[in-house]
Amino acid sequence: MTEGLKLKVERRDGLAVIYTDGYINNQGGEEIAEAAYGLLDEGFRTLLLNLAGTKIVNSIGISILIEIIEKMIEVEGRLSFCDLTPTIEKTFHIMGLAQYASIFPDEQAAVTGLQAGAS
């Protein structure tokens, strides 16, 4: 068995960044969802998922990310992704996630893009 997904959360001005480290499977997806919903309860409406520490995902984990995207749409918030491996990014495009969640090459580009989108 692999070690579970590790998460770190950084709260900034109007933006919360969730850093993942490890495999995003069903358990990993649930942990991300718990963190994301907690941040929504705190009032954050712009979430950035930094996947620099994740090299493997599976479709069960991604289906939970789709649930988070759905929730963000409901509350008129925004979930974005950055630092994806080329394969994870390609997978998100195959699934059409990029229509509903922005994908940025790295965190700096994400912060700049999200600030521009908010203004």
Binding site: S59, I64, E67, T87, K90, T91, I94, M95
Partner: protein, 147 residues
């Protein structure tokens, strides 16, 4: 790709269990690396293998609880030059009717309670050729990746 011959072939059997997909992935990726496939393509092979395994874990209901992995390097026998990696993921489960599969769409998925069913679409998007054979004897997913 029918003119290509088999240059190297390996068969392995795994016990169907949570996270066994990572072991199968590691074997497939090792073979892909050994024939100098590019890093991005190796990762795509890995992701496709994970999805094929998860489908077997979740849906096969194989009485023997096993998954069979076949890895074959295809190429021109004269030049001994690898050209294609063929990966076969096989179970002896209950099978399914491929004609009843409906490809998922994100716009429907977002509104639906069920957000699953992406495995085959991901595999087809990442691999160069995919064939699924399924029936009472089980399911076989044959995936080709060109170097």
């Amino acid at each position: 790709m029918s003119e290509l011959g088999v240059l190297e072939e390996t068969h392995l059997t795994f016990r169907l269990a949570p996270e066994m997909e990572l072991e199968v992935r590691a074997c497939a990726c090792e073979m892909a690396k050994s024939i100098r496939m590019s890093t991005d393509k190796v990762e795509e092979v890995g992701m496709a293998v994970v999805e094929a395994c998860i489908n077997a874990i979740e849906h096969s209901r194989a009485a023997d609880g096993q998954l069979h992995l076949g890895l074959a390097v295809l190429g021109s026998a004269e030049a001994d030059e690898p050209r294609v990696l063929r990966i076969t993921i096989q179970d002896q489960g209950v099978g399914f009717d491929c004609s009843k599969l409906v490809p998922p769409r994100i716009e429907d998925n977002l509104k639906s309670i069920r957000k699953r069913g992406w495995g085959l679409k991901i595999i087809e998007g990442l691999m160069d050729e995919v064939n699924v054979l399924s029936g009472e004897g089980g399911t076989s997913v044959v995936m080709l990746k060109v170097l």
